[in-house]
């Protein structure tokens, strides 16, 4: 118990297998993420990023092994975990204003009937200010552009003031300045002692975070981004051959993604 207080563990996975129903997507995951650290999940479509995020959020049950989130099972404390998924299919037609969407983040703390107070209002306003959408607060959601909506959803996630933040490709739909804003905020969250897990295609974004996990229906590599991004690991993750030059990644050659060949593999694949 005392050890946990010294090094609070946000996520701990032991022999964890994740997937949907009977289909295992990634087997035997072993990793830990401490509070105040950021982790990027990198891989192509279908590599297991979303499945892992959903398992941590408690949306998918683990298929085998053990997973601990903030010292308990996933979903044990909903108010401490924020999750932003990729799709909001019905948000188009909801008669809600941007601020109503962000306010939903506070429901987890207050249950069915608990009143939202000043602290909640401040959290909502701050999150909207961080994402630069406070001027859209009274606008109906269905009048906003895709990028503006994505910022509102990010504000909703941040307004939860959770200890573990799970983001599934948050950069989609965001322009460069907005991406910079959210990445700065992720760093700020980490400094405040929160753990953040982000699924992304963007290797440069991953370089911003403490840890990177390369996924291709298995863990190709796990460690600090600069150490694990090798031509071999990139090949296995994306089916691309690249090299670092002056800190920037150059893609030298592109092969087929791992999905085209069914299984993850080390070498180039042939049809």
């Amino acid at each position: 118990m005392s050890e946990r207080h010294l090094h609070p563990v946000a996520v701990l996975a032991r022999g964890l297998s994740i997937g949907h129903g009977r289909e295992t997507v990634v087997a035997d995951l072993d990793f830990r993420l401490e509070a105040g650290r950021t982790l990027a999940l990198v891989g192509s479509n279908g590599s297991g990023k979303t499945t892992l995020l959903k398992t941590l959020a408690g949306l998918l049950p683990p298929l085998a092994g053990a997973v601990e989130v903030l010292g308990g099972r996933p979903l044990a404390s909903p108010e401490r975990v924020a999750y932003m998924g990729q799709f909001h299919p019905s948000s188009f037609m909801l008669p809600l204003r941007a601020i109503d969407i962000v306010r939903m983040a506070r429901f987890a703390r207050h249950g069915l009937l608990g009143r939202l107070g000043t602290a909640d209002e401040i959290a909502v306003q701050e999150a909207m200010a961080v994402m630069g959408v406070e001027h859209l607060a009274r606008k109906p959601l269905n009048t906003l552009s895709g990028g503006q909506r994505q910022k509102v959803f990010l504000a909703q996630t941040f307004a939860k003031e959770a200890d573990l933040i799970l983001l599934d490709e948050p950069a989609a739909n965001l322009d460069a300045p907005a991406q910079a804003v959210y990445r700065r905020f992720v760093r700020k969250c980490a400094q405040a002692g929160k753990a953040v897990v982000v699924a992304t295609h963007d290797i440069e974004e991953a370089a911003d975070y403490d840890w990177t996990m390369l996924l291709a229906r298995r863990v190709v590599a796990f460690g600090p981004c600069s150490e694990i991004l090798t031509p071999q690991s990139l090949m296995a993750t994306f089916g691309i051959v690249g090299q670092f030059q002056e800190g920037r990644l150059l893609i030298v050659e592109r092969e087929h993604g791992h999905q085209a060949c069914g299984e993850a593999h080390e070498g180039p694949c042939k049809h």
Binding site: P89, L94, L96, L113
Partner: protein
């Protein structure tokens, strides 16, 4: 002129009762219809409407109250759809559609076996708002109150569910439980409404006012209030048309509600065409 707008309701107790029953139904439908539209459960509402038919028919055969049979039919429908969607890879739409034509056919089969029922079939399918009893109105009032209460208490999970079932779950509200609760509310609304406009038309009074309201509402509470008002107006206009034109009341009400929807839809498009959207700030 004023006389022919009010006199039918003051001079005839059955018209006053019909209006009161219709207003109660409109409130229940305003609340439940709003969540049905926002959650994209319109088809389920339709299916429940038709699914209650065999229940009502069996209840009548056994000499039981029709509402009891309707409730049993709605429950069977909810369980049936839930079972099929969990067990098969068929989409929920297909399963619901098949179950509801099956239930509709079963209802007609039961009714047609007993020849004395042919008049009853019409009344079940198209309602008899003009023959509503005080006892039924009390049940309607209680049901409307319960529906309103549940909607107030479960407003947050319902809202989250409409936004994203995943967000409901990560906020600590079981999407499965609240989805089931929503279906039960739809079932309850259908059960207390079918006597007014009939099982075939209940879908209209459940969804048309909510759909009309959704065209112009920016907040959910506005949508509920507007939907209830549109529903109540449809009942009033429908009853008047029915009284003066000697037209089936249930159909007149449903037709009014759907006409209002299409007029508002056309109005919205016209408005948008005439007033160009402001440039983005």
């Amino acid at each position: 002129m004023i006389n022919c707008l009010i006199q039918p309701f003051t001079a005839n107790a059955f018209m006053a009762n019909a209006l009161l029953a219709g207003v109660l139904v409109s409130i229940a439908c305003g609340i439940v219809g709003t969540f049905t539209v926002l959650r994209g459960l319109a088809f389920m509402g339709d299916a429940l409407g038709h699914g209650v038919l065999p229940g009502v028919a069996i209840a009548m055969l056994l000499g039981l109250p029709g509402m009891l049979g309707a409730a049993a039919g709605a429950l069977a429908m909810i369980l049936g759809v839930g079972f099929i969607t969990r067990r098969s890879s068929l989409s929920s739409d297909t399963a619901t559609g098949l179950l509801f034509v099956g239930m509709l056919a079963l209802g007609v089969v039961i009714v047609s076996r007993s020849h004395a029922f042919s008049g009853d079939l019409m009344r079940i399918l198209f309602g008899e708002i003009l023959g509503i009893h005080a006892r039924e109105m009390i049940i309607q009032a209680v049901a409307t109150l319960v529906i309103a209460l549940v909607a107030v208490v479960c407003y947050r999970p319902f809202l989250l569910l409409c936004f994203s079932p995943e967000q409901a779950q990560v906020s600590g509200f079981s999407p499965r439980f609240y989805h089931a609760l929503m279906l039960i509310l739809i079932g309850m609304t259908v059960v207390v409404s079918f006597r007014t406009v009939g099982t075939l038309l209940v879908f209209g009074i459940l969804l048309a006012p909510a759909a009309s309201a959704s065209l112009f509402s920016r907040k959910i509470i506005t949508m509920i209030v507007v939907a209830s008002l549109i529903g109540a107006s449809s009942v009033y206009i429908g009853l008047l048309v029915s009284y003066h034109g000697d037209i089936a009341a249930g159909a007149a009400i449903t037709l009014t509600a759907t006409v209002i929807f299409f007029v508002m839809l056309a109005g919205k498009h016209l408005f948008q065409a005439l007033v160009p959207r402001k440039e983005k700030a």
